[in-house]
C-alpha cells in the first residue's frame, strides 16, 4: 500500500486544479465544478488520514467524509438552482457580466 504522502499529494493536486479553475474560468458552472473538486480533495484527505491514523477502528474520519459528501450535495443543488435563475434573469452565466444586484 502506498504511504500517506502519496494520497496527500494527489489531494493537494486536485485542490489546486480546482482552485485554478474556480479562479480563472468565467462560466459560473465551471466555478462551481472547481469548488466541487476542492471539496472532493478535502474528502480524500479525511479518508487518507483516517486510514493511516493510530486508531482507524473509531471511524471518525469516515463519518466526517460522509457528512461532508451530504453537505456538498446540498451545496451543488442550491448553487446550480441559483445559476439557472441568474441565467434566466441576465441571459448569461458569465460571472463577469453579472454586475448589478438590483433586478
Amino acid at each position: 500500500m502506498s504511504p500517506l504522502w502519496c494520497y496527500l499529494t494527489v489531494s493537494a493536486l486536485l485542490f489546486c486544479i480546482g482552485l485554478a479553475g474556480a479562479l480563472t474560468r468565467r462560466n459560473a458552472i465551471m466555478v462551481l465544478i472547481g469548488i466541487e473538486l476542492m471539496l472532493n480533495a478535502a474528502n480524500l484527505n479525511f479518508i487518507a488520514f483516517w486510514r493511516f491514523s493510530e486508531h482507524p477502528e473509531t471511524q471518525t474520519g469516515l463519518m466526517f467524509a460522509l457528512f461532508s459528501i451530504a453537505i456538498a450535495a446540498a451545496e451543488a443543488a442550491v448553487g446550480l438552482a441559483l445559476i439557472i435563475t441568474i441565467y434566466r434573469h441576465f441571459r448569461t452565466a458569465n460571472v463577469d457580466k453579472v454586475e448589478d444586484m438590483k433586478g
Binding site: C6, F67, I69
Partner: protein, 164 residues
C-alpha cells in the same frame, strides 16, 4: 507507491485537469465524472468501501447529472471566439503557489512517511449503529439541511408567474 495507486491517481488528476481546461462544457462534465469515479477508486483502496460507493451514488450518479442539466439549461448564446478564461496566469500562479506550499509541508512532515495499520474491520452495520447512536444529532441536522436545500433549490429555480 504501488502501480494500481499510480494508475488511479494519474487518471484522477488527468481528468481533473481536463475538466477544468476543456472548452466544451459537456466534455468538462464528462471528465468530471471520471475524476469522481477515480476518487471512488482511491477510497476503495483505502478500505473505505461504504464511502467509496456513496461517492459513486452521490457524485457520479446525482451531482454530475445535475451539472449536465445545468449546462444544457444555460447553453450560452455568446460568441464562440470569446476566451473562456479571464487573466489565466494570475489564477494559475496562485494555484501553483498553493500546491508548492502544500507539497513542501507534506514532504517535510514525518506523518507523511507513515505506513498503514492493518486494515480495520469496518462493516456497514457498525457504521449504521454509530450513525444511530453517537452521531444521531449530526444525522438529524443533516436531514434537515438536505430538506431545506431541496425546497430552497426548487423555490429559487421556479419560474416566476407572469404579471407578478
Amino acid at each position: 507507491m504501488t502501480l494500481p495507486f499510480a494508475i488511479i491517481a494519474g487518471l484522477t488528476v488527468g481528468s481533473a485537469i481536463a475538466a477544468m481546461s476543456l472548452r466544451n462544457m459537456v466534455h468538462c462534465a464528462l471528465s468530471l465524472v471520471l475524476t469522481f469515479a477515480g476518487l471512488a477508486g482511491l477510497y476503495l483502496q483505502l478500505n473505505a468501501e461504504f464511502v467509496g460507493f456513496t461517492q459513486i451514488l452521490v457524485y457520479v450518479g446525482a451531482v454530475s447529472i445535475l451539472i449536465v442539466f445545468a449546462i444544457l439549461l444555460t447553453r450560452s448564446t455568446e460568441p464562440k471566439d470569446e476566451p473562456s478564461t479571464v487573466t489565466p496566469w494570475a489564477g494559475i500562479s496562485v494555484a501553483v503557489g498553493a500546491f508548492l506550499t502544500m507539497a513542501l509541508a507534506v514532504l517535510a512532515s514525518p506523518v507523511g512517511k507513515r505506513l498503514a495499520a492493518p486494515a480495520p474491520e469496518v462493516s456497514v452495520k457498525t457504521l449504521g449503529q454509530k450513525l444511530m447512536t453517537d452521531y444521531v444529532l449530526p444525522l438529524e441536522v443533516m436531514a434537515l439541511l438536505l430538506t431545506a436545500a431541496m425546497l430552497g433549490a426548487v423555490i429559487i429555480a421556479m419560474r416566476e408567474k407572469e404579471g407578478k
